[in-house]
Symmetry: C2
Subunit: 236 residues, 2 copies
C-alpha cells in the first residue's frame, strides 16, 4: 500500500486529535456519579441495572461494573437480595458522615491555607463564590450547587493531596443527593446558600492570610450549618 510512504512527521498542518479511549464502563460510572452529585436521584430511590442501561443507551454489562464501583463507595446500596437503591437518608448515619467530612475537609482547608500564597487560587475561589450568588439571584439551583461544589473542590485541590480529594468526593457522593433534594424547598435552599456564601468569604480571607486555624474553622462551620438546615428539612 503506497500510503505508508507518506511522512506523518513532516511539518504539515495536522489536525488529528487524540480520540476518546475510555471504556463504556468508565463513562457510565462518571455519568451516574455526576447525576448523583447533581441531585438527579433522590435518596433511597430504587434503580435497576437494566433501567440505567436503557437510559444510558448501553447494555447491562458496563452498568454492572459501574454499579459495583458505586456500591464500594456506598453511593448505591443493595437493600435486598435483588434490589439496588441510592443510599437513603438516615439522620444518625448522615451525622456521622458530616463529622468525618469535617475532619477531612477541615484538614484539607488547613493544608490549603498553609501552602505558599497563591493569588490565582484566591481569585478562583472568589469567582466560584460569586457564581453561587449570581445563580441564586436567577433561581438557577443547579448552577448554585455546581458553584458550591466547584468552590469546595478548588480549595481542597490546593491542599496538594490527590488522595484526599478522592475520599472527599466519594463522601460528597453520599451527602450530595441529600443536599440536592433540598431544592424542593426554595426558601430553605436560598437561605442555606446565602449563609454558605458568607462563610465561604471567611474561608477565602483565611486562606489569603494563611491562617490555618481560621480556614479549618470556616469550612467546618460551612459543613455544620448546611447539615443543620438539611436535617430540619429532611425530618419533617
Amino acid at each position: 500500500m503506497h500510503l505508508k510512504t507518506i511522512d506523518m512527521t513532516a511539518p504539515r498542518a495536522r489536525t488529528l486529535v487524540p480520540v476518546d479511549v475510555t471504556t463504556i464502563q468508565e463513562r457510565v460510572y462518571q455519568s451516574i456519579r455526576l447525576g448523583l452529585l447533581r441531585g438527579e436521584f433522590l435518596p433511597g430511590e430504587q434503580v435497576t441495572i437494566r433501567g440505567l442501561a436503557e437510559v444510558l443507551g448501553t447494555s447491562a454489562m458496563p452498568v454492572r461494573e459501574a454499579v459495583a464501583r458505586l456500591i464500594a463507595e456506598h453511593a448505591i446500596e443493595q437493600s435486598g437480595p435483588r434490589t439496588l437503591r441510592v443510599a437513603p437518608y438516615h439522620a444518625t448515619e448522615h451525622q456521622n458522615y458530616i463529622r468525618i467530612r469535617m475532619q477531612l475537609e477541615g484538614y484539607a482547608a488547613e493544608r490549603a491555607a498553609s501552602a505558599p500564597k497563591n493569588p490565582a487560587l484566591i481569585d478562583a475561589l472568589r469567582r466560584h463564590n460569586d457564581d453561587i450568588a449570581e445563580a441564586l439571584n436567577v433561581k438557577d439551583f443547579d448552577a448554585a450547587l455546581a458553584g458550591n461544589q466547584a468552590f469546595h473542590f478548588e480549595l481542597y485541590r490546593a491542599a496538594g493531596y490527590p488522595q484526599i480529594l478522592d475520599i472527599i468526593s466519594s463522601l460528597w457522593l453520599r451527602t450530595g443527593p441529600i443536599v440536592a433534594s433540598a431544592r424542593r424547598d426554595e426558601a430553605l435552599f436560598t437561605r442555606l446558600f446565602k449563609t454558605g456564601i458568607r462563610i465561604h468569604g471567611n474561608a477565602i480571607d483565611a486562606v489569603a492570610q494563611r491562617d490555618r486555624a481560621a480556614a479549618r474553622h470556616a469550612i467546618n462551620l460551612d459543613i455544620r450549618s448546611s447539615h443543620l438546615a438539611i436535617r430540619r428539612f429532611s425530618q419533617r
Copy 2:
C-alpha cells in the same frame, strides 16, 4: 404432601441454622481483600481476572465485579488498557495516605477515648497487644500482623462510627500490602512491632483514663513511626 402438617414452631430440638446466602462475588471480594491485608500480594504485582478466578475456583464474572469494587477503593489499579495490578508503592503518595490516616484514625481514637468507660474494651485491647508480643516471640509474623490489625480496629470500632471504620479499612487496603511486604526483613519487622507494642500501651492507658488528646497522639505516633521504618525499608 403430608409433611406440611408438621408444626415447625413446636418446641422441639431444631438444629437448623441459617445457610450462607452471600453471593460468590461477595466472597471473592472478601477473599481478595483479606489476601491484600495479609500481604499475600506484593505492591505493584500484576493480577489477571482469569488468574484470580482460577485460584478462587470460580468463573471470571464474579471476579470482574469484585475487582471493580477494589479498583474503586484504589486497592487495585489499571496500569494500562488491559492490565491490572495491586497498587504499587510510591513514596509521596504513601506519605499522603499516612497523613490522611493520621487524621481519621487519630479522630477515631479520640472518639473512642471520649466514650464512657469500658473495661471490656481495655481488656480486649491488652489482649490483642499481648497477642502481638507472643507472635513476635515465636516469629509468627502473620499472627503479629493480624494482632496489630485487631488492636487498631477494636479501638476504632469503639468510636461508634461504622462509617469511619469503612473508610479506614479501605485505607489499610492500600498501606497493608506495603507493611506486610516488610516481613522480608525480619529484624526491621521485629523492631517495628516492638515499638508498636509500646505505643499501643500508651494508647490503652489514654483510653482507660479517657484522655482524648493522649489517645490521638499515641495513635498518630504509632502510624508515623511505622511509616518512617517502612519508608527506610522500601527505599533501598
